[in-house]
Every structure is written in C-alpha cells, then in structure tokens.
Symmetry: C2
Subunit: 343 residues, 2 copies
C-alpha cells in the first residue's frame, strides 16, 4: 500500500518524517510518497543513499507547508498546493491509500474532509485521540475542536470509535463512556442528557457517564464528548504532565540531592514520559471521512512518524471504513425520521 506523508509537517520539519518513513517502509513493507519540496527531498534521499529505493517516491507540493499556527480553513483555501492539500488530493484521486501528517492538525482535518468528503451517513468526522492512562490508552473523541456537537454526532463518534478499536486494534468489545460531571445521567448538560438514551440503545458496550478523572484512570476504552471539551481536556492533560516534569526538573537544577533523586528515578519518570509521549500513540485517526487520514502530534520523533505510518496501514487494511459505512446505514434505517433534521 502507498501512504502520502506530509514530509515537512510538524515542529521538527523534515528529519523525523524522513527517518520515520525509512524505518516504516523497511519494516512494514509500505510505499511512502514523500510530499513536499521535490528538489530538496530528492537530494535528501540521495544523501541518505535511498535514491533508487522503490519504497519511496517524491511528490512535489509547490504551495509549501501550512504553518502550525495558521487558521486551518483559510490556509487550505489559500494554499491549495500545500503539502497537506496535495496529500489529501492523492488519496482522493486514488494515487495513495492513506495520508499522514504531523503538521497543523486542523488543516489536516480540513484538507481530508474537503478532498475526501464524508463516508455515507456520517454527519461529522471526528479526530479520535489516544490519551495515555494508568493502564494503557483511552480514545477521546472528538478532540478536534469541532464545537457544538449534537447528540446524533456523539452517537456516531461512539460507533466509529468502537469499530476502529475492534478492527484496527483488536479490542474485542470496546467500552464506551460519555464525558460528564457525575456518574448519574441527570447530572450532565443538555447534550449529555440527550445523548445518553441514544448510547444506551445503541447496542455498543456503553458504560454510562464518566468524569474528568476517568481519563487518566482509564476506566473505559472510548470517551465521547463535544470537540470543545475534548480539545480543552487534551491540552489540559498535556499541560499538567509538562508542568509536573518542569517542576521536578527545576528542583533538580536547584538542589543536588533532588538531582540525584531524579537520576535514580529516571527510569520510572521515563515510563511516565513514555506513556505521555506523543510518539507512543501512533497518531489520531480522523474518523468518518471517505479515506484514511492519520493526524500525528507536532512533536513526533522518527518513532512517532513510523508509528503513525503503521497506524495508517492498519486503518486501511482492516476495513474500518467499510464497517463504518455499514453501521451508519444500519443506524440510519433504525432512526426515527425527524432525527435526520439535526444533521
């Protein structure tokens, strides 16, 4: 299979992308199309002795790179030949089976949605983010800041995430929770109260309401929420971990006893860091678009890029999107007619 990789996307530019691609292509047997500045990419492949390697191709993106801080919709419109847009276009035209970018998350989602469209029956795609927990990972969606979701959207998120974990990750009967402020159904906001009965009747392994503390505790496999709440949680969780490590680091710099303690604890702290490391999750699938798109973390190293490429392969090969289409058709047929209005 062929994956279009946004070769300069992310905070660290080309290096982690090309190194991750070299690793993944060799190990997983996929073909990676490096999308970006053609001349620069070709000379880089040459420099690394991979010039004639059939695992790689180079695709020019004359529009350059969309910056990490650019407004996604505007950037995609103004730079139709940017690397992210070219990647999405390749998947749309069938020139690639999947796209992967460590660049501007919002722009990746916008480009994929614009070029690939939604799967039939899907009202809204969602960024399904893996967050580290005490025991493993939890899939939180929508983490993509598509705000003001409706109950119908959250129901679709739960179905899509369950299918993804089953098919691409082999989780047998993924448990689903809805993010709220208490375990009781009546404690949530309007969105929770209206979504709860839909999830209860969904046939999914629905465990009811979960709270903020359930995200790090890892009590369920999937947590659905509005993109506004999801994005705030994701940034709060990242910020908390970062702040705690900064405090330990600064204490160590100040005091040799702490420094020694920190060195001895390094292995344990590394375990935590490894868990909270963006490299470990393999990127966030964009669920609900008619194609395969993986949105990686801007701070990914080569390992993170390789993991994202691997996730794209599993996403493509495990038939996730066909299963989502079938599920959407089934939900649609079971849905009372007027609910269609909230699409």
């Amino acid at each position: 299979m062929k994956i279009a990789l946004d070769a300069y996307g992310g905070d660290f530019g080309l290096a982690p992308n090309i190194e991750g691609a070299l690793d993944a292509a060799g190990r997983l047997g996929c073909h990676v199309a490096l999308v970006g500045d053609e001349a620069a990419l070709k000379s880089e492949l040459k420099r690394r002795g991979q010039e004639g390697d059939p695992s790689f191709s180079v695709v020019n993106a004359p529009g350059g790179v969309i910056g990490m801080e650019q407004e996604p919709a505007i950037a995609c419109r103004e730079k139709p030949d940017s690397s992210i847009m070219v990647c999405a276009d390749m998947v749309a035209r069938g020139d690639a089976d999947a796209m992967v970018s460590m660049g501007n998350s919002g722009a990746t989602a916008v480009a994929a949605l614009f070029k690939l469209g939604r799967l039939p029956g899907v009202s809204r795609p969602a960024i399904a983010l893996f967050l580290p927990t005490k025991t493993g990972q939890v899939m939180l969606l929508d983490a993509g800041a598509i705000t003001d979701a409706k109950p119908h959207h959250l129901l679709q998120y739960a179905h899509m995430a369950s299918i993804y974990l089953q098919k691409a990750r082999g989780v047998e009967s993924p448990s689903v929770g809805i993010l709220s402020v208490g375990e009781e159904e009546n404690k949530g906001n309007l969105l929770v109260k209206e979504t709860f009965p839909l999830l209860k009747a969904s046939g999914l392994n629905f465990r009811g309401c979960v709270e903020g503390r359930d995200i790090p505790a890892g009590t369920v496999d999937i947590i659905v929420c509005d993109g506004f709440v999801g994005n705030i949680c994701l940034k709060l969780a990242e910020g908390m971990a970062k702040t705690i490590f900064q405090i330990i680091k600064e204490a160590a710099a100040r005091n040799p006893v702490y420094l020694l303690g920190g060195l001895l604890l390094k292995g344990a702290l590394k375990d935590i860091k490894a868990k909270t490391d963006p490299d470990a999750t393999g990127g966030a699938p964009l669920l609900g678009v008619d194609g395969v798109a993986i949105i990686g973390h801007g701070k990914s190293s080569a390992r993170g890029v390789a993991n994202a490429l691997s996730a794209a392969m599993k996403f493509h090969q495990s038939g996730v999107n066909d299963a989502i289409k079938q599920a959407m058709a089934r939900i649609e047929s079971e849905k009372p007619a007027e609910a269609g209005a909230s699409k």
Copy 2:
C-alpha cells in the same frame, strides 16, 4: 465574627474539622459554631478541655450529615435539619456571618442558594475554585457543574471573581481569560463567541481566550467557563496529579533504586503535592449568594479547615458582596433591555 462550621462534613469526619476550628479560632480570633450532633460535639470539646471556651459554641443538627455521594437537591429537601442546611439557615437568620463545609459540595451550594438566595442582580452563583499552577493559583469558575451557562452568566462570573481576588486576596488588577480551544476568538464554541465581546467591553482586565494548557501554566488569574467544562477540568487535573504520583509510588515499591530516588526527591515531590494539596487553597468561595459560603475539599486536613475558616473571614470582612452588588447594578444599568431575557 461567627462562622458556622459543618462539623462532620468531609471524607475524614469530625477530627480535621474540630482541630482546624481550634487552630483558627485561637489564631484568627473568630468564633466557630460547630454544627452537628450536639451531645457528641459537647463531649468532644470537653475531652479536649475546651468546654467553656467562648470561641466555640455547639449547634445541634438533628438531621445528621448529608453524605458525600448524595444527590444535592434531593438530600437538602429530605434533610432540612442536616448540618449543611442548619449552617446555611444560621447565616440566613443572621446567627452566623459565614458558613464553611468540607462536605458534599453540591449540597453546600444548594443549601446556601436555597437559604441565602442570590445577591441582587446575580443570575447564577458560581463555585470559584482555586487550582494550583506552576507559579501560584488560578481561579476557575464555574467549577460547580451548573451546566449550560449563558454569555451573561460568564460575564457575571468574571466580575464576581475579579472583585473577590481584589478585595479578599489583594490582587490588584486580576487578569481574566475565557476557556476555549485556541487563542483566537473565532475558534471557540457558540458560548465563547457570544461571551467574548461582553468581556472585551467589560472594563475588566480581559486577556482573551485561553486554552487547557493555560490552567497549569497559570497565565491568567481567573478563567471563566461553563460549569460542565469547569467540573471536568477540575476532576481531570486532580486525576492527572494522582495518577502520576501513583505511578512513581508503584515504581518505588517495585524497585529499590526508584525507592531511593523517590526518597531523595521527596522534598521536590512534596512541593508539587503541597501545591496540588486541597489544604493549600483555603476552599472555594460560592460567589453570587447573599451571604458568605466557603466550600472546602472533602479531603481537607485540619490545616485545610483552618484555611477555609480564614478564607471565610476575609470574604466576610473585605466587603466582597457589597462590591458585587454594586457591580451588578452597574452592569444591569449598562445592559441593553432585551438581554434581561437570558437570565
């Protein structure tokens, strides 16, 4: 001044409450009315040799204690003589100047709102929680899970919090942010987009939108949000800190090198723990009710109770509620007529 203290409220029952009260009464010169089982409290005061101490009185609450997991509104209705309800009643009748409870937060808010009512002009009271940051504390409100707030409510939260920090904590021009998913005004949900211009025109030290990461980073003094989001953030932040410490503790139990490292780092970890310690914040003021109520953390020790009593004193003595009344009257007079409908 006289403070009604819910003597058995919180996860640890009487001990931290009575010890905190003994400490605060002696140090701060306030009178504490211990509200609970009269006979038990009297014998406890006797046992501690404080029987005739004029700093204490005992007030019977025949309805017992509202449990931490009870549904607030139902519990307050069914137990009108519970300690929390008696405390609120004392403030309402002028028998006490303030109430403090480490018990069921929701029930404390419900009891205070029910017995004291709102300050004139306030649409909705808010629980204003102090969360630890890298550099100090940030006031997050509403943290009380009063969900589905309107723009007008968030504007009032910002005014009330600014007044509280100025009057009771001496912060000169408290900076205010609104919690969102990006720094740009247009990135938020409907609530953010509609609240932003109100805050911009408020005359407050408004710094615009802040993100989840700004909570631990401490970039502003006050963050306003809907109670649904605030409560999720608070529980996520608590859960993150707890999980990280659990992982370090478990690593230390497994491996003697980590144990030694942990021991050497203990001081630094203690610094972090002290910051995230519920004892350090002094409890959350309930802003917008016509009286003084401080909601403490269920896991407070004697120090936490003493700090909450001290916060109640400052809240009462600094004229916060008078200033809120004046601010509300001013906002009301400046508001276009039709906005009153959203109350």
